[in-house]
C-alpha cells in the first residue's frame, strides 16, 4: 500500500477541488452548464484505482456531498454509487477505450445520473426540471478527456518522484 501514498493525497486533493468547483458561484446562465465535478473526479479514480475508490468511497463521498449541497440525505450517495457500480462493472472495457470513446461512455453515465436524479425528485414530489437540466452532462463529457489527462499526468509525476 505504501507505494500508493502519494496517490492517496492526490485523491483527496482532487475530491476537495471537485467540491470547491461544484460550489463555485456562477452567474445564472452559466450555472446550468456546471458539470457534475464530483462524478467526473470519482470516475477517474474508480477507473484507475478501484481498490481505493470503490462503492464504499462513492457512498461516503455522496453523503458528504448531500450535507454540503443541502440535498436530500442519501441522494448524491445513491447517484455516485450507481455511477461507481457501472464503472466497476465495465472497467476492463473502459480502460482500453480511446479518450473519445471514454468521453461518450461518460456522457451515457452522466445522462443516466440525470435520470436517477429525476426519479428521486419525482418521488420526493418536486417539479419537472427545465430543459437546461440536460446540458450539464454534455459539458461533463466534453471536459472528461482534459480531466483524465490532467489527473493522469499529475499522478504519474507524483509516482515517479516517490522512491519505490
Amino acid at each position: 500500500m505504501s507505494r500508493q501514498r502519494g496517490g492517496t493525497g492526490l485523491l483527496w486533493a482532487s475530491l476537495l477541488m471537485a467540491f470547491a468547483l461544484a460550489l463555485w458561484p456562477l452567474p445564472d446562465y452559466l450555472a446550468v452548464l456546471r458539470p457534475n465535478w464530483l462524478a467526473l473526479v470519482l470516475c477517474y479514480w474508480v477507473l484507475e484505482t478501484p481498490r481505493r475508490a470503490g462503492l464504499g468511497v462513492a457512498f461516503a463521498l455522496g453523503l458528504c456531498a448531500d450535507v454540503v449541497f443541502g440535498t436530500l440525505l442519501g441522494e448524491q450517495a445513491l447517484r455516485l454509487c450507481v455511477i461507481a457500480f457501472i464503472l466497476l462493472r465495465f472497467r476492463a472495457q473502459l480502460r482500453y477505450f480511446t479518450l473519445l470513446q471514454q468521453a461518450l461512455a461518460v456522457l451515457a453515465l452522466l445522462l443516466n445520473d440525470r435520470v436517477v436524479v429525476l426519479m428521486v425528485r419525482a418521488l420526493a414530489g418536486e417539479g419537472w426540471p427545465p430543459a437546461s437540466f440536460w446540458i450539464a452532462p454534455l459539458v461533463g463529457a466534453v471536459l472528461w478527456p482534459w480531466i483524465f489527462l490532467l489527473l493522469d499526468d499529475v499522478r504519474l509525476r507524483l509516482r515517479a518522484r516517490e522512491p519505490s
Binding site: 476537495l16 467540491f19 470547491a20 468547483l21 461544484a22 460550489l23 463555485w24 458561484p25 456562477l26 452567474p27 445564472d28 450555472a31 446550468v32 456546471r34 478501484p50 481498490r51 470503490g54 462503492l55 464504499g56 462513492a58 457512498f59 455522496g62 453523503l63 458528504c64 450535507v67 454540503v68 449541497f69 443541502g70 440535498t71 436530500l72 440525505l73 442519501g74 441522494e75 450517495a77 445513491l78 454509487c81 450507481v82 461507481a84 457500480f85 466497476l88 462493472r89 472497467r91 476492463a92 480502460r95 428521486v120 420526493a124 414530489g125 418536486e126 417539479g127 426540471p129 427545465p130 437540466f133
Partner: protein
Amino acid sequence: MAQPGSSSGNLFVEGGAGTLKLLAYLALAAVLMVADHRGGYLGTLRSTAGLLTGPIYRLASAPADLARGARAHFTSQQSLLSENAALRQQLLLANARMDRLAGVQVENQRLRELLGGTHGLQLNVQLASLIGIDLDPFRHRLVIDAGSRRGVAEGLAVIDGDGLVGQVLRVTPANATVILVSDPSHAVPVQVVRTGLRAIAYGTGRTDLLEVPSIPLSADLRVGDVLETSGMGGRFPAGFRVGTIESLHPDDTRLFMVAEARPAARLDRGGEVLLVWSTPDAVEEVGPPVPPELRRTEPAQEAVP
C-alpha cells in the same frame, strides 16, 4: 458473483463490484432519503455534520471574495464618489419615508391600543451576508453566514432592501440555508396592497417569476398591482413587498385566473440580507388556554413540502 477487488489487484480485475453490495448501498441510501424527507429525523445529524461544511464553503467562496476585494480595491475614486452621492440621496429618501412611517406607526399603535388588541408589531432584525457559493442551479437556495450560534432558527423570514427573499430552511451552527421565494416548492401568503385581496404566491423555478394561481375571475386585480406578505399563518411578518403583477390569464379550467408576478427582491444576487422575525408580545388568546408543552410548538408552516 466475483469478490470486489479480488486479491490479484491487477489491471484485469473482473466484475469489480458485487451486485449485493450495490443493493445494500442503494437500500441504505433509500432509507436515508425517506427518513430525511418524511420525518426530518436527521436534523441533529445534519447540524453536527454542518460544522464540517463551513470550511468547504469558505474554500469555495474564497476566489469570489478575493475578486470582490480586488474590485473594491481598484475601483476608481470617481465611481466611489458617484456611488456615495447616490447612496446619500437614497438615505435621505429612506429617512424621509421612515419619519413618515414612524408617525403612522405611532398612530397605528394608539389605534390598536384603543381596540384593545396588540398584534406583534415588534420586529427583530439581524443582518447576514450571503456566502458566494451556488448549491444546485435547479433548486433555489442560498447560504448565509449566520447560524444557530447567532440565534438564527428555521422558518425566519429573509428580506433584502427591496422585498422578501425567502425563509430559513436549515440551520447549522455557523451557516444557514435559505429557500428563495422562487423555489418551486415554496409558497408565501400574500395580499394585494391596493385591494387587500389575499392569495398565495408560488415559486416557479425562475428567479424572475412568481405565480399566483386560483384568483377568482371577479377579483379586482390589475397588472402593476403590488403584492406584500399578508402575515397569515404567522410565518412571515406582514407588510413586506413580495412582487408586482406582470400579467394575468385564465387558468386551464377557465374558472380562475393565474397571475404572474415579478419578485421585488433581487433574488439572483445581492450582498446582504436581513433576517426578520416578529416577537409575539402578549398576544391575546382566544378560546381555552393552551397547555404549556404545546405552546412552544411552531405555528403552521407555509412551505409546501
